[in-house]
């Protein structure tokens, strides 16, 4: 039992942080968010160069999977820098799905190119009305000739516009809420009958609603066995939750640090406001939240790739609850302690505030995961 990093892990963490501090300082980040594409291909290429897009790629394809600690460190550094590139969507979620479900041919065709930053793939799973239920899929895939025709609507598909490929979930059997009968398809973003309505999310990322009006894909677009994608989706999203928790911890720490710095410099009544006990104790509470969140980000990272699905789900849900509550508390207090400056667009703190809201609304909110935790406990072997 130890919390030490290997020399390689420390080097990776230092390298990523140094790179982001230089290339992704707040002003540069704001410029990227406001650019036409809303993210930077240049940054993406550099992430590929550093090997970061290969963390979830199996060794056979030149990657580092499972790389639990490396993913944790990378995400925490990215959260601190408020990175908006499609790292979670492509390098973690889609990479894990292709890795876990894809045929040897599909893996070979996609994973090395994704690791090199040449191809981007993102999952297109969520639907209006499903909220955070992973098994509620109304989109259908019907056999058509040798292939399939996909019909339905996917909502808030993170970085759909940036993607070369969408990993579209569609029902090939079962009822609306059944885990069985969900299949995944590789769909080119520019496929005929596929329409994107793009927008910016509250935390500065790009996303789109995706309409599939009878999109025809060939037989080999099917990822994994027909109707059997649910468990892999669940595993990939658990991995995603763990990564997202690590990302949030980076943002939380940056938010706390900014608040401490601000209260030390801002003077009222002739003294720095950090001297007021009413404020000090709030910052002590913020620290406790941040450290509890950090602990759970470690635990989730260690369990995120576990084959024991019940234990894995229980742990990542517990992590999402602790981190979610930390996000709410720390973000709200940070804005409050920054006073008027906290509610401007000018300082990083308000952008962290929005990032932390984005965290809460992504991959299941606190209430959802509290419910999942209770369900996992109830399913516990006696």
């Amino acid at each position: 039992m130890h919390f030490n990093l290997t020399a390689e892990q420390q080097l990776l963490s230092d390298t990523v942080q140094r790179f982001l501090a230089k290339a992704y300082a707040f002003e540069a980040r704001q410029k990227i968010v406001k650019s036409k594409e809303g993210w930077s291909r240049e940054i993406w290429a550099q992430l590929a160069e550093m090997g970061l897009l290969a963390l979830q790629v199996p060794e056979a394809q030149g990657g580092m999977a499972p790389a639990a600690v490396e993913t944790l460190l990378t995400m925490t550094a990215m959260g601190k820098a408020l990175l908006v590139e499609p790292y979670l969507a492509s390098a973690i979620l889609a990479t894990a799905l292709i890795r876990d479900l894809g045929s040897a041919g599909q893996q070979e065709a996609l994973l090395p190119a994704m690791a090199a930053g040449e191809k981007i793939a993102v999952p297109a799973h969520g639907e209006r009305g499903a909220r955070y239920d992973l098994s509620r899929v109304a989109t259908t895939a019907a056999r058509q000739g040798q292939g399939w025709a996909l019909r339905g609507k996917k909502t808030v598909v993170i970085h759909a516009e940036a993607a070369d490929l969408l990993l579209v979930s569609a029902r090939t059997g079962g009822g609306l809420d059944d885990a069985a009968g969900i299949s995944l398809f590789l769909v080119p973003r520019d496929a005929t009958g596929l329409r994107l309505t793009g927008y910016r999310t509250v935390d500065g990322q790009r996303a789109a609603d995706v309409e599939l009006a009878g999109v025809a894909v060939p037989a080999d677009a099917l990822l994994g066995a027909e109707g059997q994608a649910f468990l892999a989706l669940q595993a990939a999203f658990d991995l995603g939750v763990a990564a997202l928790c690590a990302d949030a911890v980076g943002s939380l720490q940056a938010t706390l640090d900014a608040t401490i710095d601000y209260t030390k410099t801002r003077k009222q009544f002739g003294v720095p406001i950090a001297k007021f006990q009413a404020l000090q104790h709030r910052m002590a509470d913020m620290l406790i939240h941040v450290e509890q969140a950090r602990s759970m980000s470690y635990l989730a990272a260690m369990k995120a790739a576990s084959g024991d699905a019940r234990d894995r789900r229980r742990t990542v849900s517990a992590a999402k609850v602790v981190v979610g509550q930390a996000c709410r508390h720390v973000a709200q207090q940070a804005v409050q302690l920054h006073g008027g400056m906290g509610v401007t667009d000018e300082l990083a703190v308000s952008h962290h505030f929005k990032r932390l809201l984005g965290f809460e609304l992504s991959l299941g909110d606190t209430e959802h995961h509290l419910e999942q935790f209770v369900a996992a406990n109830a399913a516990r072997p006696a």
Binding site: S295, L299, L370, N377
Partner: protein
């Protein structure tokens, strides 16, 4: 990073578990697991059993007769002991005055006192707080005047836990009234049987007799009972507080109480269904369970940092705040779980030997008293507000 215990640590856990299985007297185990009162005799008996095994000083170095366990092994020991229903070891000797005597006491004091702490031959209590010196401990007024080869002590200490069983008390006393508050304090060991020492009970909100006032009237204390240097007591007091806070998170006992809460909730009903299946109750219970999971990892992080730098750091304040919040939340959910059955208040039923008519359900008997009793947790050992001051100064640098 590796959050699993090493094979050696797992083997150690197994060794502790089998020892507890074999040696922990069933009557004591029952009391602890049911949340009933553990008697002073139970506590002494268990300490003596541990001492025979060579485990009397789980947090002490080998040179003083301790186990020499690293912080992780100490944690495993506490966790297994709590889960098995072993009584809490008395902290006053083992975690408070013991480490001070080891670090600052002279050889004679070490030889005289340390073996008797391990063997439970002495029962120590802590003379820190006074009516006018709680969180502001340095304003204490109990006076020790040097007269030749002894001190004469006059004053009043309060909130002295279990002083009614103690034969020794370690005290912070003022030896230089002219100096600044922190600079004029000394650390004295006082035999409770000395003429002029009087113990007066304080009844608490759970109607229990756990704490006391201790009065000193012209109490003669030989100078050889001064620990370290005169007027340096504040340094030793701070050192002691750091050690007192190791394992302050109480992870092991909270896990045990969580398991008890789950047993209670499974036997209670709401709308004809087991209470643990009620979504509102299940959510509140899950919330505490999840916070405990997080605190366990935070605790292990602090322990492994301590293992490297060999001294408890300010992070212990975080553990104290969160740990006591969890203990209080569990005790609150426990009494809420039994509903109106939490109202009957029969202190005699908390005694393991109680033979009177039992009320249904028997597990409800201690719950209200325990909830009341545990309000102390966020107040003692440096109130949680004081802990936040420590975090503010030592970690945040404000």
């Amino acid at each position: 990073m590796d959050l699993s215990f090493t094979p050696a640590e797992q083997a150690f856990r197994q060794e502790v578990a089998s020892f507890l299985e074999k040696e922990l007297p069933p009557a004591i185990r029952r009391k602890v697991l049911d949340g009933l009162h553990v008697s002073p005799q139970d506590t002494v008996q268990w300490q003596k059993i541990l001492h025979r095994k060579g485990w009397g000083g789980p947090n002490w170095a080998k040179e003083f007769g301790g186990t020499g366990w690293d912080p992780v092994r100490q944690y495993i020991f506490e966790e297994e002991s709590a889960a098995a229903g072993a009584p809490r070891l008395l902290p006053f000797g083992l975690k408070m005055v013991g480490p001070v005597i080891q670090r600052f006491g002279n050889a004679a004091q070490q030889q005289r006192h340390l073996p008797r702490i391990l063997a439970a031959d002495d029962w120590w209590c802590q003379g820190y707080s006074e009516p006018g010196a709680g969180s502001d401990l340095a304003s204490l007024k109990t006076r020790a005047e040097r007269r030749g080869d002894h001190y004469v002590v006059n004053g009043q200490k309060t909130w002295i836990t279990l002083a009614q069983h103690a034969n020794w008390i370690f005290c912070l006393v003022r030896t230089d009234p002219a100096a600044k508050p922190q600079a004029g304090i000394s650390f004295l060991l006082i035999d409770m049987k000395t003429p002029g020492v009087e113990v007066r009970p304080i009844t608490m909100l759970d109607e229990g007799h756990e704490v006391n006032e201790v009065w000193f009237e012209d109490v003669v204390v030989p100078v050889e009972n001064l620990v370290g240097e005169e007027n340096k007591g504040w340094t030793y007091a701070k050192f002691l507080l750091g050690h007192e806070r190791t394992n302050i998170a109480g992870i092991g006992s909270s896990k045990r109480e969580l398991a008890r809460l789950k047993r209670v909730a499974a036997q209670e009903t709401k709308h004809g269904r087991p209470l643990d299946q009620d979504p509102f109750f299940a959510a509140r219970l899950a919330q505490v369970e999840i916070e405990l999971m997080a605190l366990e990892i935070t605790n292990l992080r602090v322990l492994s940092a301590e293992a490297e730098r060999r001294a408890p750091g300010p992070e212990a304040s975080l553990l104290k705040i969160k740990g006591t919040e969890i203990q209080q939340a569990l005790s609150e959910l426990m009494v809420l779980a039994v509903g109106p059955s939490g109202l009957p208040f029969r202190r005699e039923a908390l005694d393991g030997a109680f033979a009177g008519p039992a009320l249904e359900p028997p597990y409800a008997a201690p719950l209200a008293a325990t909830y009341c009793n545990l309000r102390k947790a966020s107040i003692y050992g440096g109130s949680n507000e004081i802990q936040k001051n420590i975090i503010t100064q030592m970690i945040l640098g404000l």
